[in-house]
Amino acid sequence: MKDIYILAYAQNPIVADAKAANEVELIMPVVHQVFKQTGFTQNDIGFTCSGSCDYLQGAAFAFVEGLSAIQTNPPIKESHVEMDAAWALYESILKIQMGDAETALIYGFGKSSPGDLPFVSTLQTDPYYMSPLWPDKTSLAALQAQLLMNNGLLTKKDMYEALTQSISNAKNNPNALVTAMPSEDDYLSADYLSSPLSTYDCAPISDGASAMIIGTEEAAAKLGLQKIKISSVHHSIETSNFGARDLSTSESIIGLGKKINLKSFNLDFAELHTQFSYEIPFIRGLLDLGNIDINLSGGPLAGNVMMAAGLDSIGKSFELLKNSDFHNGLAHASSGPCLQQNMLVHLEKIND
């Protein structure tokens, strides 16, 4: 297996409503930024992969339009996942491992403001038995949160603490869409969107884009930058049939923790793709993270660009390792309702 490094990462300022700006106009600045960080041009990129969801734009094959943001002449090797761009990163890693590329450009983008996100997300559930019932994203999350509470695994106080910690950490990310910090009274008395979740427990509707460049050891060495290695990456998915899942735990997350050997290194922090407050204490417990700092960037509760937020967990971990004394970071990305699919990434700072 080849060693693969993250070479650059950029994130647009996350906004609640990007107004007239279209996806191309959101993607282009971040792609130019990662090129600037590396000195690369599109000609130095062996493989390009993006993550987005056509239902967000409301048009079939809308992701193809996004390609207008990057240079596609001479023709490029390119692919797309109808998922968070963390999975575009995964595909790029496979491409490099197979020897098809030395470097890859990854970007993810999402504009949630034009539609009704909780119901747009419904269309990503099983189209035969689930989506015709129109279960919205928030209600499905609430189902899981309520179950955890009923089982004594979660309290409103846990959720409040996760929320306030995230909002307070958002000061570390100049691109965060900073949301209001409620008092405990405000929090506890807020109306439910879907019991036990109120607006405070849900990541804000966000528009934006992010980009990343990865490469082999050779590509990393040429740049002479601080080396941040993708030491381990795994993902797994549970069934789309809710009735067949035990929502009070996550086989996927527990299994991934074992696969990346979480206990084999001294973890300094974790960036989790948690779109609801309850998911932070939930995953902390599942991975036995103790009192490790979670979401020092503020995480999705302080700005959640659909189809980019998972890549952002990885990108923010990369930035944190680069700019601190930390050595080992854990990044998490998720997809589907109630943390159906997950990815864990172990990032490591390599000192030559």
């Binding site: 700006a21 279209n22 191309v24 106009e25 282009m28 943001a69 034009p114 539609g115 269309l123």
Partner: protein, 163 residues
């Protein structure tokens, strides 16, 4: 049969969106509402795009410079439509054509009328026929169709995208 057990139900799928055209295309559409066709030029390769999407996909850069193009051009390609499309108010047969405006490096789809269908050809010179000014909006439908100008045809080699 009236007591037949129903083992299915119909669930409509409908979502509404507030569509945005993009900053660059918005500027174009606002000019169209004034009867002007404003293209955008690539700062690297000088390709001229109309309608503009704000980027040159060949170079991967934003197209900031704007220039007004005439409402004349030539037919780059066309098809004669004989089959009615549900919801389309245009009665077949009619011509859908890719129109390359003078000075542009890409073409866009529009209608050609005021001509015998048998006379349509690639390279034919055409000009826009605009709706009454009082009916203008932020749409290329401000142009009803294109009609032949009667000028000499252009050589199709001019449609090659410039290097």
């Amino acid at each position: 049969m009236s007591e037949e057990k129903k083992d299915f139900f119909v669930s409509d799928i409908s979502l509404s969106y507030q569509y945005t055209a993009g900053n660059a295309t918005t500027r174009f559409l606002n000019k169209v509402a004034e009867g002007k066709l404003v293209a955008q030029k690539c700062p690297k390769c000088s390709a001229v795009y109309v309608p503009p999407r704000g980027s040159c996909p060949r170079c991967g850069v934003a197209t900031e410079e704007e220039l007004e193009l005439p409402d004349t051009g030539a037919v780059e390609s066309f098809t004669i439509v004989h089959i009615p499309i549900p919801g389309n108010p245009i009665v077949p047969p009619y011509v859908s054509a890719m129109i390359r405006l003078d000075g542009a490096d890409i073409s866009f789809l529009h209608l050609i009328q005021e001509i015998d269908l048998a006379d349509i050809r690639i390279g034919m010179r055409v000009q826009a026929v605009w709706k009454d000014k009082s009916d203008w909006g932020t749409t290329l439908e401000n142009i009803k169709w294109f009609k032949p100008t009667g000028e000499d045809d252009v050589d199709p080699s001019v449609f090659k995208f410039k290097e």
